[in-house]
């Protein structure tokens, strides 16, 4: 074959197949982008008209005039439920990560890692069903506390695994330097290693909170929902996802509007946290690299 033969353009069925392949790739990209675009478009378009002062400050009004009411009880409830979950899951996750990254070697550490991985792949409704039986059914009522516990089951492994990765990125020199100065190991970890990984740990926490904010199934089975403001963690409590769920299933268009408003606020909060986490982690990686 001559050199000219090699350089000849591809023709016939080979060319058609290649063009089809390239076209198919672009189609996939177009479908993904278009889907995201359409979802974002509708959430913003329908949600924005629901937002008002009442929306953020009032409890639901009568079904005849839903637009006069708001979902303040959902915001407060989400705060309480996710707050309880964070207060428990973040320290537990952090200390689990410390064990895995600083002390853990051998079988036990692998077992803990595997457990975290397994918990991450368990459907979230199962966490809800678990807390439903051990807390709700056992104590006889739905509550914000039970909702928080269901979210702990989901957040703990996320914080643990994500934080472990960050701790492992902290240079060994820092630990050795600190130990050489005579600092005991626990102080080295808590005062030198953890602060050095600060931004990365914050990323892990933000991801976990973002996930918890959007969860519906686990808190449906545990916190149930409520039409009124409730600040007692031992009583049924509303949350934004629960409100969207119950409003969307009514036949009242005004309540659908409220649901879209809730979806917009929820989406913004979750995206801000996720994108913030992404930006932070990119910056952290650059700093450590």
């Amino acid at each position: 074959m001559s050199a000219a033969g090699i350089l000849q353009p591809v023709r016939g069925s080979r060319r058609i197949k290649d063009l089809a392949y390239r076209g198919a790739l672009w189609c996939c990209v177009a479908i993904a982008m278009a889907t995201l675009g359409v979802i974002a478009f509708y959430v913003v378009k329908r949600g924005i008209s629901a937002l008002s002062v009442n929306f953020f400050t009032k409890e639901p009004a009568s079904q005849l005039h839903p637009e006069q009411g708001g979902i303040v009880q959902s915001f407060i409830g989400t705060g309480i439920i996710v707050g309880i979950a964070s207060l428990i899951a973040i320290p537990l996750g952090l200390l689990t990560a410390v064990y895995l990254a600083e002390y853990g070697k051998g079988r036990l550490a692998s077992a803990i890692r595997l457990t975290a991985q397994v918990l991450l792949s368990v459907p979230s409704i199962v966490a809800g069903a678990f807390i439903w039986t051990v807390v709700v059914v056992a104590f006889g009522n739905f509550s914000a506390f039970a909702g928080g516990l269901a979210l702990v089951v989901l957040m703990w492994p996320i914080v643990a695994r994500a934080t472990e990765e960050v701790l492992l990125l902290v240079p060994q020199d820092l630990r050795e330097g600190s130990l050489a100065l005579g600092l005991p190991r626990w102080k080295t970890i808590m005062r030198v290693v953890v602060p050095a990984a600060g931004a990365g740990i914050l990323t892990a926490v933000m991801l976990a909170v973002a996930r918890a904010l959007g969860e519906t199934a686990p808190i449906l089975l545990t916190a149930l929902g409520n039409d009124f403001i409730n600040t007692d963690p031992l009583k049924p409590t509303d949350a934004v996802p629960l409100r969207i769920f119950s409003d969307a299933r009514t036949p009242v268009p005004g309540l659908h509007q409220i649901a879209w408003g809730g979806a917009l606020v929820l989406l913004l909060a979750v995206l801000l946290l996720s994108i913030g986490a992404r930006v932070l982690s990119v910056r952290q990686q650059k700093r450590l690299a």
């Binding site: 290649d18 995201l36 991985q117 368990v122 459907p123 990765e165 005991p184 959007g214 879209w260 979750v270």
Partner: protein, 346 residues
Amino acid sequence: MSSAVGSDALAGLGASEPKARRARFIDRGFRWVTLLIGVGLIALLIYMLVDLTAGGWRTFSRFGFGFFTGTTWNPVRGREQFGALPFIFGTLVTSLLAVLIAVPISVGLALFLNQVRGLLANPLAVFIDILAAIPSIVYGLWGLFVLKPFLDSTVEPFLIATVGKVPVIGVFFRGKAQGPDMLTAGVILAIMIVPIITAVSREVIAVVPRDLREAALALGATRWESVRVAVLPYARNGIVGATMLGLGRALGETIAVTMVIGNVPKIGWSLLQPGATIPSWIASSFREASSVGLHRSALLALAVTLVIWSLILALVSRILVRKTAEQLGEPGEDEPVSVARLGTAG
């Protein structure tokens, strides 16, 4: 701070015996606390599995294997009958449909992200991450008020009029276009699992040595030929693994499905009929079951079934993805945590 360092340093050197002992005690104590918490995570998982199984035991022992093959679900006291087949059927149909739609798109996206290093690749990766971060409830709301009406008014009448008339395949597309159905649930699930399948496929494709592709291209292969000959055969196991992971996610997805599927425990071949999945049924009947022992036990038995499926799928997927990485000489590292990995909120 400096004085603390000083005294600890001296303690470490054994200058002051009681202080040194205390310091060592605290140090060991801290280690034990972290260890206990780590073990606590294992205990939590075991407790969860044992508790759910114990809760479901009444149902398993009363109905035996009939729980998986029965088609009647009747919680009325005295006439209780719990058969999970309609939910198992609904879960499998919607999830398989989702995988069928999502896998080609995801593999396309993964190939695109691996080959195109242009202006578009980075924003595309961000977009896919955003798709992964959208909460399930938002997908559900959108599915109910935007996707369902759209499918009902355009796609489904079209399917009924064309594919519905074809023998054999036609049975999947009979019935009326209106109303909740399994097709809508499958499409919503497909959108929700694209990010995870894309993320894992992308990692697997990224470990295929570039030399192979470049050698193929140097020999005059077109892009498609280079992918077919030098990428897909190596990444195949990993892509199957990614698919399993996506299937696992689809099986357990609750709220979005609950909102569009209609929650009717019925078995029928047509995708245009309402159905119910295991999670959607748990979510829609847990309230009545809270105070009734056997009904509650039946729901927990459903949850156990779900856990077993998702654990098997996660395990198989992990083995396949690792095998691919090892075959290609990459260290079989643990999966990195990313937004897509952490999954869509259920």
